[in-house]
């Protein structure tokens, strides 16, 4: 029982990251706008992440608790960006 509770607590505490993946369809200006809207990034920061996605194939745009990460991924997918969440090991 204690072991199970510990596992559940670890699950809750594990940090997650939100990753946006490259996609040849989404316009660079559109991706920048979405980052500004969803995360409230400055234009410079949004462009930096957009270029990271474009040039490196992915960019970690946020990290923290799972519930919030899920919400961000839902918002990003609502804008049709290729976004996923990953555990930070």
């Amino acid at each position: 029982m204690i072991e199970q509770e510990t596992r559940q607590q670890e699950e809750v505490d594990t940090p997650w990251q939100v990753v946006v993946h490259n996609d040849p369809i989404n316009l660079m200006t559109y991706v920048t706008m979405v980052f500004q809207k969803v995360f409230g990034f400055s234009r410079e920061k949004a462009e930096k992440h957009m270029l990271e996605v474009h040039q490196q194939g992915r960019s970690i745009v946020w990290s923290g608790l799972r519930e919030r990460a899920e919400l961000y991924v839902q918002q990003l997918q609502g804008y049709l960006l290729l976004a996923t969440l990953e555990r930070i090991n």
Binding site: I25, E70, Y79, A83
Partner: protein, 163 residues
Amino acid sequence: MDIRREGDTLEISELDPFLAELLRQIPDSTKPEGAEAAHARLFCLPADPAEKELCAEWKLYVEPELRRLFHSATETVLTDLQALNGQSKPFANCTLRIPTKNAEAWLNALNQARLVIASKYGFSEGELGDHYRSPIGSRRDLSLFQINFYGFLQEFILHEMQK
């Protein structure tokens, strides 16, 4: 074709019948039915498939929300497009007015359409970057033109909304 902002409206005038028809096709082009790749792109997994519980919950609770969001954007576009029907004589140029409050819905529907068309035809990154391919000699060429035309509209809407 002329495109500009007039107060709270984005106006696309001098639309020739061919481009007007491409605009009319936006709602239908957002439908991924019959193309598994297109459906998978619109409703992609939120995490590695190994995260089985997370992916299953996503499909159950989040996917219907996304479906509603996409449908709502497409319905808004469909309503705005109705102004194109019966507006003028056949083969005459026409004008489309998009209220700026609907700009996000247009961006979303145009993106859905571009993603679905690209998935259905499996365009390579090289083809998608080739904006000057001509003439249009096949359905595939026309679809690529459609993707680029919708992308041009997205750029215009974004540019005007950021002013």
